[in-house]
């Protein structure tokens, strides 16, 4: 197939599907219903390291996890979630929350939306662990 047909078809196809999905409201990130949902999301990644404490942020978009092996975070990946321990993390305040920089090529930057009180609380918690 000539590239002069293949390339426009692929580009228009991809862009069209992405725009359509967005217009259908399918870009909404996951929200954790409650602490139990955040706990389950953590256990889904680390079944051998159960949370001792789960601190869900007020808009339910992420949770700080405390375990005997150290702190971690669960956050949305699109409609789903993932989780990482926070060992080695660099945490910085950012507009509307904090940014966590991890020494992890597959999760280099985690942007969390927190209100001012939460941001302070998380920063102090995370400074103890990271």
């Amino acid at each position: 197939m000539p590239l002069s047909i293949l390339i426009p078809m692929v580009v228009i196809g991809i862009a069209g599907i992405a725009v359509l999905l967005h217009l259908l409201g399918l870009s909404r990130p996951r929200r954790f219903d409650d602490e139990a949902a955040a706990r389950a999301a953590w256990l889904r990644e680390f079944p051998a390291n159960p949370p001792a404490r789960v601190i869900l942020c007020h808009d339910r978009s992420a949770a700080l996890i405390e375990t005997v092996q150290g702190a971690g975070v669960v956050w949305p990946m699109g409609a789903d979630s993932t989780a990482r321990p926070l060992a080695g993390a660099r945490i910085a305040p950012a507009a509307g929350g904090i940014i966590i920089h991890l020494p992890d090529f597959t999760a280099p930057r985690i942007r969390l939306r927190l209100d001012a009180d939460e941001a302070r609380q998380w920063l102090s918690k995370l400074e103890q662990t990271a």
Binding site: M1, L3, L6, M9, V10, G13, I14, G16, I17, A18, L20, L21, H22, L24, L26, S27, R44, E45, P47, A48, W75, M77, G78, A79, D80, S81, T82, A83, R84, L102, D104, F105, T106, A107, P108, I110
Partner: protein, 309 residues
């Protein structure tokens, strides 16, 4: 003479079909409110990975093609182009696919390329297109060498390989439950391939088939989808990024970092490349058997059930 035979570049010609099928699946899910899930960034990443796969084929395809034509030049055998030769080639190439795919999950060097196909937490038709950019570097083209040495023309081998990929497109869906019994026995199906995409301990390293599921039945890697255990799609350690470059290269980087650690023996460095994913020199990570054992320790009632026998 037969050096000039050409077959259509089937995967490229299937692109409009892929787009149409995705739109139909999406319409089905949106109207019926069941049969799968779509998310914008996940789908976009999958589609970009698919486009990059085609591009890498255009850029790097000459490597495998040069290798195949060199084999074709030395083999004294030529099976010709009769229809039954094409059919035989398709079946044998599917056996080739089974082993390449099994290596893809059991040798970290090959997994580094294949991992991205499993990196979505979704399972829909776009997931089928989430294909590798780095297949050339796995050297898995050598597994096709016997076919060419047996007298199947390289163009035919690539043609049936393309058909194989196209077959696998439609099975990446939750919109289809089960096919008729005889079909589920013989062919790879949405149900069987859902299992293959599962990160559940039960479903790890199962159902490597491309077109015919019988290879898994034959070689002991078949696990049927369980009605009481929904497949959890994705990787044992799910990615925290949608960036296609990170998706494409992360495991290669991880291999090189592991190999470059100070204080390892040469044997350990090599094992980081060729041992199964999850191998580590100090036992700090888990491979499939350990993941299954840890699951059974938490859920002893699952012992002896499919995937745990």
């Amino acid at each position: 003479m037969t050096d000039q035979i050409t077959y259509p570049d089937v995967v490229n010609f299937a692109v409009p079909l892929f787009i149409a099928a995705i739109l139909i699946e999406l319409a089905w899910i949106v109207t019926k409110k069941r049969g799968g899930r779509y998310e914008t960034r996940d789908a976009l990443t999958s589609l970009i990975m698919g486009a990059g796969n085609v591009a890498s084929g255009i850029v790097l395809g000459f490597v495998a093609w040069g290798f195949f034509m060199a084999l074709w030049a030395i083999t004294p055998l030529d099976l010709g182009t009769a229809w039954w030769v094409v059919v035989l080639c398709f079946v044998l190439d599917d056996l080739r696919y089974y082993w390449v795919h099994r290596f893809g999950h059991r040798i970290r060097w090959v997994w580094a390329s294949h991992v991205n196909h499993h990196s979505s937490q979704h399972y829909n038709l776009t997931t089928a297109l989430r294909q590798t950019w780095t297949g050339t570097f796995t050297f898995m083209m050598v597994v096709r060498a016997p076919l060419i040495l047996l007298g199947f023309h390289p163009a035919m081998v690539l043609f049936v390989g393309g058909l194989n990929l196209i077959y696998q497109f439609w099975i990446h869906t939750e919109a289809i439950g089960r096919m008729p019994r005889w079909f589920e026995w013989l062919m790879n199906t949405p149900s069987h391939h859902r299992v293959h995409h599962g990160r559940n301990a039960r479903y790890l390293d199962a159902n490597y088939a491309g077109v015919f599921i019988i290879w898994d039945r034959l070689f002991g890697t078949f696990v049927p989808e369980q009605d009481d255990e929904k497949v959890d799609y994705g990787l044992v350690h799910n990615l925290g990024t949608f960036n296609p470059l990170r998706v494409a290269f992360h495991e290669w980087l991880a291999i090189f970092r592991d190999m470059a650690q100070p204080g390892l023996t040469l044997r350990q460095r090599l094992a980081y490349a060729v041992a199964p994913p999850g191998w580590s020199h100090d036992g700090s990570r888990q491979m499939t058997p350990e993941i299954k054992a840890a699951h059974l320790a938490r859920h002893p009632e699952d012992a002896g059930t499919p995937g745990f026998d």
